[in-house]
């Protein structure tokens, strides 16, 4: 591309004047062409494409984590609890919410929608789960919360302090939440909860425990620890 450009300009100047192999005036234009092209591709790759890649969805109703966390005794586990067999319940189901919200408690618009649309009609709220992983991933909340004594915040961030739910950004190709890949397009992360990719699991597993050399193939964690 660049050499063609050069030949064309050279050819034209060559017709007008006596043949001069390099016109000093064409140099800056070629450079400008490259810089513009680079800038354009940077804009496409770093800001337009990520915007196209994710579609924005809003949650069915807004939820105030901060307010609820102040009302309950048992922290996150008051609503996101563990079952007796050690499995994790994930997002609360309607029955849990109706324990308190059988009728309107406050004056917020969202609660009114919740009671009228979901409690009265006995429909589950179709929450969009930011941290939903692909089907091939096995993750044990038990092992991390009870075994490693980790805080919810380490992976999920200070979501308990949020007063409203952020929009759910769905990757149009994979169908997964943006919270899995992270917001920083360059891949840098400041906090442990910025991303939930395999590398992030692996990073922590390499650092924080002594049992992570069970794989014959890799000398690290066996694949079956997190895959199913």
């Amino acid at each position: 591309m660049s050499s063609n450009e050069k030949h064309q300009t050279d050819g034209r100047t060559g017709d007008a004047h006596a043949s001069s192999p390099s016109d000093p005036r064409s140099g800056p234009y070629i450079l400008l062409f490259f810089i513009l092209g680079l800038a354009l591709s940077m804009v496409v790759g770093w800001s337009i494409f990520p915007k196209l890649l994710y579609s924005q969805k809003s949650q069915p109703i807004d939820f105030n984590h901060k307010l609820h966390l102040e009302q309950v005794d048992n922290g996150c586990q008051s609503c996101h609890f563990f079952r007796e067999d050690g499995s994790f319940s994930g997002s609360p189901r309607l029955a849990q919410c109706t324990d308190c919200h059988a009728e309107l408690l406050g004056e917020s618009e969202n609660e009114k929608i919740f009671v009228e649309h979901y409690v009265a009609t006995d429909r589950e709220v179709p929450w969009l789960v930011y941290s939903r992983q692909p089907d091939c991933v096995f993750f044990s909340h038990s092992a991390h919360v009870f075994g490693a004594k980790m805080d919810c915040e380490t992976c999920h961030g200070p979501i308990g302090k949020s007063e409203s739910l952020k929009p759910y950004e769905e990757n149009r190709i994979t169908g997964l939440s943006r919270d899995i890949w992270g917001r920083n397009i360059a891949g840098f992360k400041q906090n442990t909860w910025d991303r939930m990719k395999m590398d992030d699991c692996a990073q922590c597993h390499a650092q924080h425990d002594t049992l992570h050399d069970s794989s014959v193939q890799t000398g690290r964690d066996a694949c079956f620890v997190c895959h199913k």
Binding site: D85, G86, C136, A143, S215, Q217, A222, C223, F224, K228
Partner: protein
């Protein structure tokens, strides 16, 4: 043998199976249980058994004698979870170019990671037991059936190899429960494979071969110094002479059944002691 941190802290687990061939009636309950537990796909036309996917398959063998001396026996064959002569040197694991199959020294289970497998089928060629199966097509579930699939086992896509995992997800679930109760160790009855529980004859016993309290250890009496060869005179392993050091043991009082576990020459005595040793 690979020296691991796990081994210095506590003895690694070595999950294995003892299948009593004399008790097996060939009913196929284990196959059905395995199918439904592990979301094993089926095809619209299952008549071509060469393409069927059966993580656990019951083979029928016969002594080929004339009536009235005819006898048959059934050999249920899950993945044998070979350890090889050097712990972890399973035929499939050592040939996989994608690190899609792996041997865990902590549990002795040979894993298969479908999202890493690119379907070269080298492992299938290496496996002496035909325990590995290739997905030629994406599974098509009859309408509504996808709702009855187990959420704990991910369904396989086309183009990957799959095999029995000793119901590893049940191990994970058992560990979840243990963690919730503040334990690190799981009990024998907490982790049992689907086929073990489904066998109406009680022919399949599953547990930790390294744990003397587990029934499977008491039945097999493995000789740890000699590649876990069994001290039980009724026990044999499939193709033991290959040195695959499998974790599935078969039991039979009948000579011809024990003999059929390996490819013996006509007239060759059964159970050549020390044969595997010359190997490793």
């Amino acid at each position: 043998m690979k020296q691991t941190q796990t081994q210095t802290q506590h003895r690694p687990k070595r999950y294995g199976m003892a299948i009593d061939v004399d008790k097996c009636t060939g009913c196929g309950s284990c196959m059905v249980a395995c199918f439904s537990e592990n979301n094993v796909p089926f095809k619209q036309d299952e008549t071509d058994k060469l393409l069927s996917i059966t993580w656990l398959r019951v083979y029928k063998i016969s002594n080929n004698e004339k009536f009235p001396n005819t006898e048959v026996a059934f050999i249920p064959r899950p993945c044998q979870h070979c350890a090889g002569q050097h712990e972890g040197h399973s035929p499939c694991v050592s040939v996989c170019p994608a690190t899609a199959t792996d041997y865990s020294v902590e549990t002795g289970i040979v894993s298969q990671i479908y999202t890493r497998c690119f379907g070269c089928r080298y492992c299938m060629a290496a496996c002496p037991y035909h325990a590995r199966y290739f997905n030629w097509w994406d599974p098509v579930w009859p309408a509504g059936m996808e709702k009855s699939l187990s959420p704990n086992v991910s369904p396989r896509m086309r183009g990957v190899v799959e095999k029995c995992s000793f119901c590893f997800h049940r191990y994970q679930q058992a560990r979840d429960k243990a963690y919730a109760e503040g334990r690190r160790e799981i009990r024998e009855e907490e982790y049992q494979t689907a086929c073990t529980q489904a066998c109406p004859a009680g022919a399949i016993v599953f547990g930790d071969l390294n744990n003397p309290e587990h029934l499977v250890h008491q039945i097999v009496k493995p000789d740890i110094e000699h590649h876990y060869r069994s001290h039980n005179p009724r026990a044999f392993r499939l193709l033991e002479r290959l040195g695959t050091n499998t974790k599935v043991y078969y039991l039979s009082s009948r000579d011809w059944v024990r003999k059929s576990g390996d490819n013996y020459l006509p007239g060759e005595p059964v159970g050549l002691q020390g044969k595997a040793d010359t190997h490793g």
